[in-house]
Symmetry: C2
Subunit: 462 residues, 2 copies
């Protein structure tokens, strides 16, 4: 029987397996998935909200357990790591993590969905207790145990009213979400970021709005600062973070420095890896070797605005790509059309979103962009709960094409980025965007939607 | 000096005047605006929220007073009604409502922005005290006085614990919003609707979801029922609503039956009026007579999906159209590209939105549509506050073109319609919609956005 092997049991791999199973029965196609860890199909993006306590039961983060996949006739083998791919003989070498025994497994078709790995710089003290990454379910369980336990012992310490201190390293999505989580847990939180402003996927002027809002929430935001190491305290755990701008005491440290594609296995096997570090695939997500596919955080994909190949690790892409591969491995013809860099997050009530290119990306790419930023409200100004919103849009000077949008605002601000995303996806001009028929009623929008006001101002500048 | 006359001092007219003034100074262009009522630039869409008490100060609904317009060198004359337009002599006849004196006013260019009038069927008893329309600021002031006063006297009535009863006639946007308002004010509310389900701009299956949600809120929803008259109670005020299905006692009645374009003045002057009842204009919003323009609820405009001319009274269109006219009357070249019927409202926490065509509209138009409805959540299922959301999408069978979308859901559901609206605006196929890069993070969306899930299911059915 034909045999499909999937490497990696998370979003992309298991979406591919599930889609393939939906299209081909178990009497027609064997599907085996190897997963190095214990969990399958877990919501990595949800981990900060487990740490914060918003999600009480970590099991809620598991979209589908290995048992559920097995009941769906997908032979999931957890704690099995694929250590080599032999493309000529069409076998993978698999190590049973528990027994350390390796064996060969043949495949007819192969899906590589090895994900991404958190960047963990080789700094002094990075392996101290209390310095945490936050990439896997065990990571989150570990942090949660640490901070809840620590908070408990702090509360018991007689005569000490000082709040425990946490330092979050990195001002990207995970950094912000972990800052919120630790704040929610009662920590005194400092965010250290090497760039000028947090949220480097926004331009600095919008990042500055994020920084201001975070400071208003009580988070100390330290920018233009490089972490150079970690020092132990009296108890042997981490006690301080050493930076280019001095020492920050901390009982807990969380790293949110970013991820890089896990493409080493594929590269060693001889598959092409792009400059982004992601595996090179075509728009059907096929590698250069017939019957070998790749999907999820380990690949690079087309950025439809810049035309560049980019590696953007995000669960929603992984799921979509997994579906595309699942269709294609079973003889279908699905295409993944690329991405435009849409992303969203929040810190407490501050919602942050972006899509397309930023001005700084345009500068790097040599695209002449015109930008404008407006301030408005999420609802009609007179309607209760109208929250402030700032919207920045940018357009190409020569063509008027909408290039990007950024939003920082209160509740109801963030998901408005989707309208901009669909506009950019369709290469609308900024002028055409002004009159688009967006939904209006006072509880939902001012009579001129803030996105359209930003478009108007950008068009005026063109 | 060149003289621009504007008929109608609300959104479209005053947007046109303001835009014209921005482009041409007062030494270069006279602008006179005649408004029959007392107010200018008011938010008609906000009136239900004044009645509900969400907006305490009715002045908040006035975006710009006559005085503010005058300070901007726009000669606003309130309580002045234009009673005739002489297109040959280029004059309007204006009646001073207070003195009843008529005079002629010349124009070089004319903007007709006469708005729409609420439909008020000629039913027995419709003029009884306590039967209210809700179209203007005075309407809203009157209702508010009536219901707050009445509620007060009810509370004072010894031994009476019965809540006062309100009947809302009409299950469209205004009807739903007034039902919410009266519920908020402590009334026992019955909504009477002639169609099978409330929200006739949705398909019945989605309207049924609205009806269910409203009933759960404690609103009595009576459908397939025609109002035939109103009967006085012992106090001479309205006491009951007579319907095709029996008598509904009511201390207060609110009519929300819809509006029709105020195009009579234009028609009498010889301008063309379409089958929708709206004034015919081209995409620059010019009428057939040079220098005579029309904008807002009194015109008809292109529905970009059906290709029909439609009259949709909505403040956001009026504002956009006013801007276009303001540019064109001053020598610019702006176009209003039409609408796609996007709309949104809510009843308490139930958000309702739609865009494009519904299945029933497609049937009327002879378009072969395929539709699918999915149920999901507004946030990741494991994230606190994830509210239910139902999304229906439809596509043309022969081309796959996305035709429409409808949403009924909890907080955070409604404004998601904008992504569908931009997709439909750009004539995306439903298949292309599946992979669009919408924003994902657990507090904002499941990993597959509900809109994309609906698109997937619709595409599967094609």
């Amino acid at each position: 029987m034909e045999r499909l092997v999937v490497i990696g049991g998370d979003a992309a791999g298991m979406s591919a397996a599930s889609q393939a199973r939906r299209r081909r029965g178990s009497d027609d196609l064997d599907i085996v998935a190897f997963e190095r860890g214990e969990y399958t199909s877990y919501a990595a993006c949800g981990l900060p909200y487990y740490v914060s306590g918003d999600i009480v039961d970590a099991d809620r983060l598991i979209a589908r357990t290995p048992e559920a996949h097995r009941a769906n006739a997908i032979d999931v083998r957890t704690r099995h790591e694929v250590v080599a791919i032999d493309l000529d003989r069409r076998i993978v070498r698999v190590r049973d993590v528990r027994s350390d025994i390796e064996r060969a497994e043949r495949f007819d078709q192969l899906v590589i969905a090895t994900g991404a790995a958190p960047i963990r710089p080789d700094l002094p003290g990075i392996d101290l207790d209390g310095v945490h990454g936050v990439h896997t379910v065990p990571d989150a369980l570990r942090i949660e145990r640490d901070i809840v336990g620590a908070a408990g012992s702090a509360a018991e310490r007689p005569g000490s009213a000082r709040r425990r201190r946490a330092v979050v390293v990195g001002g990207g999505y995970v950094g912000l979400e972990m800052a919120e989580a630790l704040l929610t847990r009662g920590y005194e939180v400092t965010l250290v970021h090497r760039g000028h402003q947090p949220m480097p996927t926004l331009d600095d002027d919008m990042g500055a709005r994020v920084a201001t809002a975070m400071r208003e929430l009580g988070i100390t935001v330290v920018v233009d600062t490089e972490v150079v190491g970690f020092t132990a305290g009296a108890d042997g755990r981490v006690g301080a973070v050493d930076t280019s701008n001095g020492v920050l005491p901390a009982e807990v440290v969380v790293l949110g420095i970013g991820v890089r594609p896990n493409s080493g296995l594929a590269a060693t096997a001889g598959l092409e890896v792009g400059r982004s570090g992601g595996i090179t695939v075509d728009d059907r997500l096929a590698t250069s070797v017939p019957g070998v596919w790749a999907a999820g955080d380990c690949i690079e994909t087309l950025h439809r605005v810049s035309g560049e190949a980019v590696a953007i690790g995000l669960g929603t892409h992984a799921n979509k790509q997994g579906r595309v591969v699942g269709i294609n491995v079973t003889g279908g013809h699905a295409r993944f059309p690329g991405v435009i860099g849409t992303a969203i997050t929040k810190v407490c009530d501050i919602e942050i979103a972006r899509t397309g290119l930023s001005v700084s990306e345009c500068e790097r790419l040599g695209i002449d962009a015109v930008a404008a930023t407006i301030e408005g409200t999420t609802r009609a100004g007179y309607y209760p709960g109208a929250a402030p919103i700032a919207v920045k849009t940018l357009a190409e000077r020569s063509t008027g094409r909408t290039l990007g949008a950024q939003i920082v605002g209160g509740v109801g601000a963030g998901k408005r980025i989707d309208a901009a995303a669909v506009a950019i996806w369709n290469a609308m001009t900024i002028d055409a965007l002004i009159n688009v028929d967006l939904a209006y009623a006072p509880p939902f929008s001012p009579v001129w939607d803030p996105l359209l006001v930003a478009a108007r101002k950008t068009a005026d500048r063109l």
